[in-house]
Every structure is written in structure tokens, then in C-alpha cells.
């Protein structure tokens, strides 16, 4: 490969990784739900916290460090639904990205 080819390959890799980062930032910011006035990030921590308890109601901290009395099953259901919606969209967008062979086709 010529030096120009190598440079172009590096630039292409930069674009590709940046596209993944754009998508990750967009999708991660959508992994948020509201319940009982609290804002909760939908992530592994939340699922573990909700699933390790057998209480109907429990107090947990929301994203802004406010203690909120939550209905455990309701919040778990809400979070799972949001998680699935966002992950489906994430996969769809990702598949579209990998099919773009050149930045000119965007």
C-alpha cells in the first residue's frame, strides 16, 4: 500500500469510530426513565438493584441524588421496556452504519 492509501485507511477508521461514538452518545442519553418524580438511568446497576430485592416498594437514589420511593416492579418493567426499545434502535442504526462503505454516501 502507498503512504496515501495508509493515510486514507486511518482517516476512514477515524470516521467509522466517530460514527460509533456518535451513536453510543445518542443512544446512551436515551436510556433514561422517570418514575415517581425521579429520573433513573437504565443500566446494569439499576437492574441489579431492582432484581436483587423482593420488596414491593423501596427507596433508591435517582440520577440527581434524590431518594425516591419506587414501586419496584413498575420501575423494573418501565426500565426493561425502555432498554429494549433503545437497544433495538441502536442495533438498527448500527446496521445502517456498517453498510455505509464511504462517507460520501451519508
Amino acid at each position: 500500500m502507498t503512504p496515501e492509501n495508509l493515510r486514507d485507511a486511518a482517516r476512514l477508521a477515524y470516521d467509522r469510530e466517530l460514527a460509533k461514538q456518535n451513536l453510543k452518545t445518542a443512544m446512551t442519553s436515551r436510556l433514561t426513565v422517570t418514575h415517581q418524580g425521579g429520573v433513573f438511568l437504565v443500566n446494569t446497576d439499576l437492574f441489579v438493584l431492582l432484581q436483587q430485592s423482593d420488596l414491593d416498594h423501596m427507596v433508591i437514589l435517582d440520577a440527581y441524588d434524590t431518594p425516591v420511593l419506587v414501586n419496584r416492579k413498575e420501575l423494573n418493567s418501565l426500565a426493561r421496556q425502555r432498554f429494549q426499545e433503545v437497544m433495538n434502535e441502536w442495533q438498527y442504526q448500527y446496521e445502517q452504519q456498517v453498510n455505509v462503505r464511504s462517507a460520501k454516501n451519508l
Partner: protein, 254 residues
């Protein structure tokens, strides 16, 4: 019906035209995006009463000119917007903030009394960072997007902001940044620093970085809530932003 459901919620956008730019037109379009994606009513705060729009309008005197890059800029009524907002819980955005998702709904449905953008996503580097104010290096907040309740805490922040605006020369010297032009971002950064017990409290949005499309981002096309852009100076580098709310700062590229 719970108290949470009874409170009024809406969005306000302040806009004052200059000789060369139609900020009110931008505000009307930004408001339509808020209606569509967040299903919130919108009130435009401006000095013109007969604007062509479905949004509510509150008429106020045009603020003093705060020239930027040799252009008129009437941005100095931000500190008054707590008093002017007709809503119990308010989303406040700049007219160049393009709502393209319903992501802010979760934050609007929350109860935090005051939240302002702090983390910034850079679409050229893919990094999330917090900018700093001058040599004092306070965390910089961006007045571009804010949520506040009519509450003691939010009221204090706006009162502090009025005080800082009034004594701008002093605060710019104390926190060691350039005094001209006057920046709402800096006013509110200092207000948040003070109201939060000298930086003990973080008023930034959680999990919602501000996507700043600044002078390093060349807009190629904006269509269907999606921005295709190039990185200035690199002919091969092109990318797109989708499923994100966007701060489109380069008005001449739209």
C-alpha cells in the same frame, strides 16, 4: 391526580431580532420542534407582539445591545426569565437549540429544581468534556438548555445571576475571564457555583451532554432531524448525527 401531574409545564425561548439576523424566526421553528418532540406548549419572549406563530408570546422591552463579533446581540434578559416564565416547571432553550428527540421528556418529568447543561459532546472528536470558565477554571454551565421549577433554589440562582450581571466587571476580574462580550453561560456558571455552596452541588444534566456543533463542524445537510457534517479542513471526513438534540451554533450554515 398527583401533584406532579397538576403542575404546568412548558418551554420558553427568548429571541430578539438584530439588523442582520431573524432570531424570532429561529425561535418559532425551535418552538415547533418542542411541540412535536416533547409535546410541550411554548412561549416566546420577545419585543415584537405580532409574530406569525401558534406559540404564546410575552412582550418585553428589547435588552441592551451586547455586541459580539461586531454584530448586534440582544441576549441579556436571560436572568429575567425565571420571573417571566408562565410555567411551574420550565424548559428554557436558545433559539438555535434543535430538539430532535423526546430525550428531555424524562428530565422534564423529573423533579430536580434546577438543571443546566454542563457536559458537552464534541462531534469532531467524540469526546464528552466539561469546559472551564477563565483562569479560575470553574466548571462551565451552558445556558443553552435549562430546566427549572418555580422554587426557592431556582429563584436563588436567578437572583444571583442578576447580581452577577449587574456587577459583571467585578466578577469577570474576580474569576479572571474576558469581560467582553457578556456571556450568560459565565453568569450562570458563577451563580451555580455560589448557589451550590461554592461548587459542592452539581447542577448539570445527568446523561444528557450538550451536542455543540460549533465552527469546527461544517453542516452539509440537515434533514429529518439528522445532521450530516464535515470536519473543517479534512476533505475525507464526514459523519452524521441522529437521535440527538443539537446545538447548531453556525447560523450562517443553515
Amino acid at each position: 391526580m398527583s401533584d406532579q401531574q397538576k403542575i404546568s409545564k412548558g418551554c420558553i425561548i427568548a429571541a430578539f431580532n438584530t439588523d442582520s439576523y431573524d432570531y424570532i424566526g429561529d425561535a418559532v421553528l425551535a418552538g415547533e420542534r418542542v411541540n412535536r418532540h416533547l409535546n410541550l406548549p411554548v412561549t416566546i419572549i420577545t419585543d415584537v407582539s405580532d409574530i406569525m406563530s401558534e406559540h404564546d408570546v410575552i412582550t418585553v422591552p428589547k435588552p441592551a445591545d451586547n455586541p459580539r463579533l461586531k454584530q448586534n446581540w440582544y441576549n441579556m434578559n436571560r436572568t429575567q426569565l425565571y420571573d417571566l416564565s408562565p410555567y411551574d416547571r420550565t424548559l428554557l432553550i436558545d433559539s438555535d437549540y434543535f430538539i430532535c428527540t423526546d430525550t428531555l421528556s424524562a428530565h422534564m418529568d423529573g423533579s430536580a429544581d434546577f438543571i443546566m447543561a454542563r457536559e458537552v459532546y464534541n462531534p469532531v472528536t467524540g469526546e464528552i468534556t466539561t469546559h472551564r470558565v477563565g483562569e479560575s477554571a470553574l466548571p462551565m454551565y451552558w445556558a443553552t438548555v435549562t430546566i427549572f421549577n418555580k422554587s426557592a433554589e431556582a429563584s436563588l440562582i436567578f437572583e444571583l445571576a442578576k447580581h452577577i450581571q449587574k456587577h459583571w466587571e467585578y466578577y469577570s476580574a474576580y474569576y479572571r475571564f474576558r469581560a467582553s462580550p457578556m456571556r450568560n453561560d459565565y453568569i450562570f456558571s458563577i451563580a451555580c457555583h455560589l448557589a451550590g455552596g461554592y461548587g459542592q452541588k452539581d447542577y448539570g444534566f445527568v446523561n444528557y451532554p450538550l451536542v455543540n456543533c460549533d465552527s469546527n463542524v461544517k453542516y452539509t445537510r440537515f434533514l429529518d432531524d439528522q445532521l450530516v457534517y464535515e470536519y473543517a479542513g479534512k476533505s475525507l471526513s464526514r459523519n452524521k448525527l441522529t437521535n440527538m438534540d443539537l446545538h447548531l451554533m453556525n447560523k450562517d450554515m443553515l
